[in-house]
């Protein structure tokens, strides 16, 4: 018994974003929450319910189990902002001097390890196929080559010059 939900497609699913929905599943159960996203591969629905004291609970309903999705209300601006920030990594801002210093640290370490690095304004072009963006942490690597991406990320992680720069999660 397959519902039409699986067949809708990304252009339809994206219309449900940032709305409070009621999802009915085949076993006559209902799940409510703010719809954060729909996985285009499995049609799974990600619902968020915010707690009273901050924090949130996330419920994911598998696409194959979805019978019906009903929209209850639109998110107001505050809720929409909370939703878009829900899974994003914490942002930290550095001063221009600090960014310059970090760029030089990354470049020195890569060059020490015989990896070609070119200056590209704010970014570093690494081995011709990878871009290292500010603030030059391992997760700021961008490349379409998975193998190079993995190697450069691991290399950056082992830089002995790395200072305390990860945000503390409370």
């Amino acid at each position: 018994m397959q519902s039409g939900w699986l067949l809708l497609g990304p252009l339809d699913w994206i219309c449900y974003l940032n709305k409070q929905v009621k999802v009915k599943t085949g076993n006559d159960e209902e799940h409510r929450g703010w719809l954060l996203t729909v996985d285009p591969v499995s049609a799974s629905v990600v619902l968020v319910n915010f707690g009273e004291v901050g924090g949130a609970s996330v419920q994911v309903v598998m696409g194959h189990a979805v019978e019906e999705v009903e929209v209850l209300q639109e998110a107001d601006e505050e809720t929409a902002e909370r939703l878009s920030a829900a899974f994003l990594p914490q942002q930290i801002s550095f001063s221009p001097n600090e960014l310059r210093r970090r760029k030089e640290m990354a470049r020195r370490w890569l060059q020490k390890n015989h990896v070609p690095v070119d200056d590209n304004g704010e970014e570093l072009k690494v081995a011709g196929v990878l871009t290292l963006m500010p603030p030059y942490m391992p997760e700021d690597c961008r490349s379409s080559n998975e193998i190079i991406l993995d190697r450069i990320q691991k290399l950056l992680e082992t830089n002995p010059e790395k200072l305390e720069d990860r945000p503390r999660h409370t």
Binding site: L6, G9, P10, L11, W13, I14, T25, G26, N27, E29, H31, L36, T37, V38, D39, P40, V41, S42, A43, S44, V46, V48, G55, A56, S57, V58, Q59, V60, V61, M62, H64, A65, A86, F87, L88
Partner: protein, 129 residues
Amino acid sequence: MATPVSVLRLPKGPEPNGSRGFDPTSPRFIALCRTSISTLVASEEDAEQLQREQCARSALRESFLRCLLSMANKKVQFHMYEKVKVEATFGACDIDVLNFQVSDLHTPIGVQKEALIRCQDVISYTFHL
């Protein structure tokens, strides 16, 4: 109940890559090895529509991947068919969302140290941010 149980090895079912003798048109194969839902737009006239669909697809998928990332190493409750509810520590998910890799799966017969949960058996799962 925290009695560890020995590893249960169930027979391997069909996999999307290679058939191992399973008929790719059988309902079981299709149910267990459904690959990514293909694009709906086929004709060239809808090139602009295809582009919009791909934009939507990648935005939705990125959000979902971040959701999976935030689940890593957290306790997740799986609500499955036949009124089965289990709790485990989430490890990873495969690319087609067919299996979840979990640790410390609390089942009615004891704790499985490592397990693969078949996504087709799961109705929903919950965790706290």
